[in-house]
């Protein structure tokens, strides 16, 4: 009987070690120096985004906000592997992937400041809206990927979710459909090891999340989520496979949420500082920078220039978002149906 290989922890795919050394040159994906600098740029931008957003939230200019600090390699490595026509199904912590794929930063700020208009993704950006209810985006992405297959479009679909999402029926049902209908889906679990305060061990008794794919009849890979090259490579392979009609892949990015779950969370209540310190030493941004410096493609002055540049870009986006006039109350009625019903029009008139 053929057996699907069940990935165990020891099989975690890695290319870069925490000191930025390449473990095996043969595994290194084809990326130009320019690609690498771009990936690094997105990672640094995402972290600056978090820092500025956090401060804005503290000033009451944003609602609750979920930082991704620590998960930059998982998101940038995977999103960078996507081709122009591929589609992205994000969750509430996917800012880095979304920005990389063309979501305007000012719209993201608008959304997180409590304005629906920030959810209008530009027509030329292949992206669905942000899912807040955990795991609900997985069946949507499976259905979209299936639809691409039915319509004979060579498009890969990437969906992001956290480790806790794998506890929901949506995960099981979505991946099961994807397996049965061989949909071109790449399901990326960013296992940051916590669901707010609840550790990964409370979500599943299985050793890895990647191994769950075996039960759906397709491949699962566990990858070092703080290693941007490893994430890039497994995602690129999975997307190529998907576009070539060979079905879905589940990728578990083994990573760590360095900051709070959201601005309303106090992580010191549930996890030891030593654990956070351990992971700070495995920071994905430091790891890539060490690699670049060793390779001679990054200097201190490059770093300074980049830091200044991302700060300006994020601040410009904030300015743009905050310059937009407040939404009109009627706005809440405008997109409920194609054409507002008589009842809705009457209710709208009560606003006067």
């Amino acid at each position: 009987m053929p057996r699907t290989k069940v990935p165990a922890k020891s099989d975690m795919f890695q290319i870069l070690d925490p000191e930025g050394n390449v473990l095996d040159k043969k595994l290194m994906p084809k990326l130009t120096d320019d690609d690498i600098r771009k990936m690094y740029g997105y990672m640094v931008l995402a972290r600056k985004w978090d820092e500025i957003a956090w401060n804005l939230q503290r000033e009451g200019r944003l609602l609750t906000f979920a930082p991704l600090t620590g998960q930059e390699a998982s998101q940038v490595g995977s999103a960078y592997a996507m081709e122009k026509d591929d589609w992205l199904f994000p969750m509430y912590r996917s800012n880095a992937a979304m920005i990389l794929r063309g979501m305007p930063m000012d719209l993201l700020f608008q959304y997180w400041s409590g304005d629906e208009r920030g959810l209008k993704i530009p027509d030329d950006v292949n992206m669905f809206t942000i899912a807040i209810p955990v795991g609900t985006q997985i069946p949507h992405a499976a259905g979209f990927a299936w639809g691409m297959k039915i319509q004979k479009k060579k498009v890969g679909v990437v969906v992001y979710f956290g480790d806790a999402a794998t506890s929901k029926g949506d995960f099981h049902e979505g991946l099961n459909f994807a397996g049965v209908f061989k949909a071109p889906l790449v399901a990326i679990c960013e296992n940051n090891q916590y669901a707010i305060s609840v550790p990964r061990s409370r979500q599943t008794a299985s050793e890895t999340i990647a191994q769950k794919a075996a039960a759906y009849g397709f491949e699962g890979v566990q990858v070092d989520g703080n290693d941007v090259f490893a994430v890039y490579k497994v995602t690129k392979d999975a997307l190529d496979k998907a576009r070539n009609g060979n079905g879905p892949t589940l990728i578990e990015c083994f990573t760590y949420r360095l900051g709070a779950h959201t601005t309303s969370d106090d992580p010191t209540k549930y996890r030891p500082v030593e654990e956070v310190e351990y992971w700070k030493k495995r920071d994905p941004i430091d790891r890539l920078r060490k690699f670049m410096v060793k390779k001679g493609i990054w200097s201190d002055s490059d770093e300074q220039k980049l830091l200044a540049n991302v700060e300006v870009r994020v601040n410009d986006a904030v300015k743009k978002a905050e310059a937009v006039e407040a939404p009109k109350p009627e706005d809440m009625f405008n997109y409920v149906y194609e054409k507002a019903t008589e009842q809705l029009r009457q209710q709208m008139s009560e606003l006067k």
């Binding site: 609602l63 304005d115 629906e116 955990v134 929901k168 669901a195 609840v198 939404p327 809440m332 009560e350």
Partner: protein, 322 residues
């Protein structure tokens, strides 16, 4: 002692758990973290991992296993983190929670509580401000309780935990820390199905949950101009029909304030009740102040959506001037 609603609920849970070791709490982040609103703060430390249980993130799983736990002899008090995340559990609530007693012809019953922070008004993200009362009231076999004050919350929750039927306990998150009032330290119960009336003569204003606070503020604003009778329903199912009918028969005028979308909301049920039982006493058409039939808007527009003190005052003026 003076407590807010979070503290009152915490105390009710603690006191009941101390007395009855079959009571267990299940939910997301309710253990070490004490719940995202800190309602279960300190209970994990006191009762341990076996009685205050962080579950996998799965609302259907939480409610579905609570059914099994209850039938096995435990008394689960399940927390859903926000009412916006009760929909995954509705399958179990509709198909099973409300039907077990009936389907088993009385062999099995569910002594269980499903509690969650409810409603809007705290400038939260999408799916964190909805109110599920209408959906839940439509299900036979469950009780739907909505405290409006810390005092209500403690007495009603103890009743809910002791009830031999499943109780949904909706905690208005806007009120959680907004009101502090005298709450007896010792245990007490408030019967489920008894409204609380503050007397007046000219007009009856009916509300539940967070809207009771809005109505009380409207009453203040109106001052001596009219004598307003307010009814805090405290429980939607069962409903204190007597309190409503008696009041409207006295005042002849009614305003109903409902947080959620208008169509098929509980206000409509109250209007039907008044129509059936007190029609001939009415001196003006009944008014309802409600949310609109749109998805709950994000905070920038939320205040236009929610019933406000001014909207309630205007509605009272309208029925008085009719």
């Amino acid at each position: 002692m003076k407590l807010n609603m979070v503290q009152a609920i915490n105390l009710a849970l603690k006191q009941e758990m101390e007395k009855d070791s079959s009571i267990i709490l299940l939910g997301e982040d309710i253990g070490k973290n004490g719940g995202v609103f800190r309602v279960t703060e300190g209970l994990w430390q006191q009762f341990g991992d076996e009685r205050v249980i962080d579950t996998p993130l799965a609302e259907l799983g939480i409610v579905g296993t609570s059914i099994g736990l209850a039938i096995s002899g435990m008394k689960p008090v399940a927390e859903i983190q926000f009412d916006g995340f009760t929909p995954p559990a509705l399958d179990q609530i509709i198909s099973h929670v409300g039907r077990i007693r009936n389907r088993s012809r009385g062999r099995f019953h569910l002594q269980m509580v499903i509690r969650f922070p409810s409603g809007g008004g705290i400038r939260a993200l999408e799916h964190h401000s909805e109110i599920m009362d209408t959906y839940l009231c439509h299900i036979a076999g469950i009780k739907v309780v909505v405290p409006a004050t810390p005092n209500d919350a403690k007495g009603l929750l103890i009743s809910a935990i002791r009830d031999k039927d499943p109780v949904i306990f909706m905690e208005p998150k806007k009120v959680y820390r907004a009101i502090k009032e005298e709450v007896p330290e010792e245990e007490y119960t408030i019967p489920i199905g008894e409204a609380k009336v503050r007397e007046g003569d000219d007009v009856t204003v009916i509300a539940w949950g967070a809207m009771v606070k809005t109505v009380n503020e409207a009453r203040e604003k109106i001052g001596d101009k009219y004598s307003v009778e307010t009814i805090n329903l405290r429980s939607l199912k069962p409903l204190d029909t007597n309190a409503v009918v008696k009041s409207v028969k006295k005042t002849g005028r009614a305003v109903i304030v409902q947080e959620g979308p208008r169509t098929l909301g509980f206000a409509a049920e109250l209007i039907a009740l008044i129509n059936e039982k007190a029609f001939l006493s009415l001196e003006a058409p009944i008014k309802r102040v409600t949310g609109f039939d749109v998805p709950t808007p994000l905070p920038k527009l939320e205040n236009y959506y929610l019933p406000s003190v001014d909207k309630v005052v205007n509605a009272i003026e309208d029925v008085m001037r009719f």
